[in-house]
Amino acid sequence: MKEDDDATLVRRCRNGDRAALEQLVMRYQKPVFNVALRLLRDSEDARDVAQTTFLKVFEHLGDYNPSFKFYSWIYRIAINESLNALGSRKPCEGLNGEEADTAPGPDRQLEGEQTGQAIEEALMRIKPELRAVVILRHFMQLSYRDMGDILLLPEKTVKSRLYSARQLLRDRLLQRGAI
């Protein structure tokens, strides 16, 4: 149902229907922004990536192959744009303020927002390609297959990356007493 709706909107966009384009923006601005935000952990950068993503979608809409899921396509663009943004950051950016200053001891349990913050910090300390699979699985609730389509990876590689990412996150969060 959702795919049909996307396909219809894309078709209308291709025919010059501005309202359909606005609907696509309405539908995907939030997930695209969230993908970028989780990858970049910077609201301003995420907003820029969301804008660039929709511009690219717009520019290449005539080339989009409707036999593929639209959301796979737009998420792939969003992830690539986010990785590009990460690549253009200064090498040390994101590693300042090491958790040593603020990290609670192992005996202290973080809860609620603190747990969330600890997870976000831990996410930023794993490789972006591992972070991307965690985001697609746990925040976008996508299947291995959809993740593979988006990342252009076989399911086996997707699973391998996801398992590695979880192990790393688990080790780091246990160290901080966050889980």
Partner: protein, 225 residues
């Protein structure tokens, strides 16, 4: 614990991917291995915490800023290049020049043999290889050339493999899949060319056999001059 098989069972259980026999195997593992139990509980807590993070609302002005940044007219199919008024004049001028050239060629005298001047410049139609990746002695051998011709970029595959190779090509959000490469008995031999209209200068190529990744490479074209 923990061999990769047990780890995979634990992760698969969290993702709801276990069938009956695998569930039984995991239960046996957990009974016999307290470390595995601990790991499972840690990972379940982690995944519950990850799932609980949820989505963040984008800034209120995001939608409007996106719409403002988009051009007012949506792109359908690009109009043919020759339909632009400037191009029509260019075509007219080109036609006149072509007619003039034919008249000149007809009236002009004998020319040196082609061999006297051949090799000084490649014709515009000749594909020029701009990057090459050689594949080693793994599951897939051979090479991939990124070339540029008048139509733009393209890939040329010369692969040899024990089984058909599927190739995913990606660049700037565009993707292309080519199936069944690398088979010696394929019509036309093992060489296959694929045009990449509109693709970016950096092209990621992933090789799959029976659905499993067996290699990947990135080819890059220099900027157009």
């Amino acid at each position: 614990m923990a061999d990769s098989g047990r780890l995979a069972l634990i992760h698969a259980e969290i993702d709801g991917e276990l069938d009956g026999p695998q569930r039984a195997e995991l239960a046996r593992t957990l009974l016999a291995d307290p470390e595995a139990q601990t790991l499972r509980e840690d990972l379940r807590r982690l995944c519950a915490a990850l799932d609980a993070l949820g989505e963040v609302d984008p800034p209120q002005q995001l939608r409007q800023s996106i719409l403002d940044a988009l051009p007012q007219s949506t792109p359908s199919r690009a109009p043919p290049w020759w339909s632009a008024p400037r191009m029509r004049y260019a075509a007219l001028i080109a036609g006149v020049l072509a007619a003039g050239t034919i008249v000149y060629e007809t009236l002009d005298g004998p020319r040196p043999a082609t061999s006297d001047v051949a090799g000084t410049m490649a014709t515009a139609d000749t594909p020029t290889t701009v990057d090459t990746v050689r594949l080693g002695n793994g599951a897939v051998a051979g090479r991939v050339n990124l070339y540029r011709d008048r139509a733009g970029l393209g890939l040329e595959f010369e692969l040899v493999a024990s089984a058909p190779v599927d190739v995913l090509v990606a660049s700037d959000g565009r993707t292309l899949r080519v199936n069944g490469l690398g088979v010696r008995d394929a019509p036309g031999g093992p060489r296959t060319t694929v045009a990449l209209p509109g693709f970016g200068r950096s092209v990621d190529v992933t090789f799959l056999m029976a659905g499993h990744e067996v290699g990947r490479a990135t080819l890059r074209a220099p900027k157009d001059r």
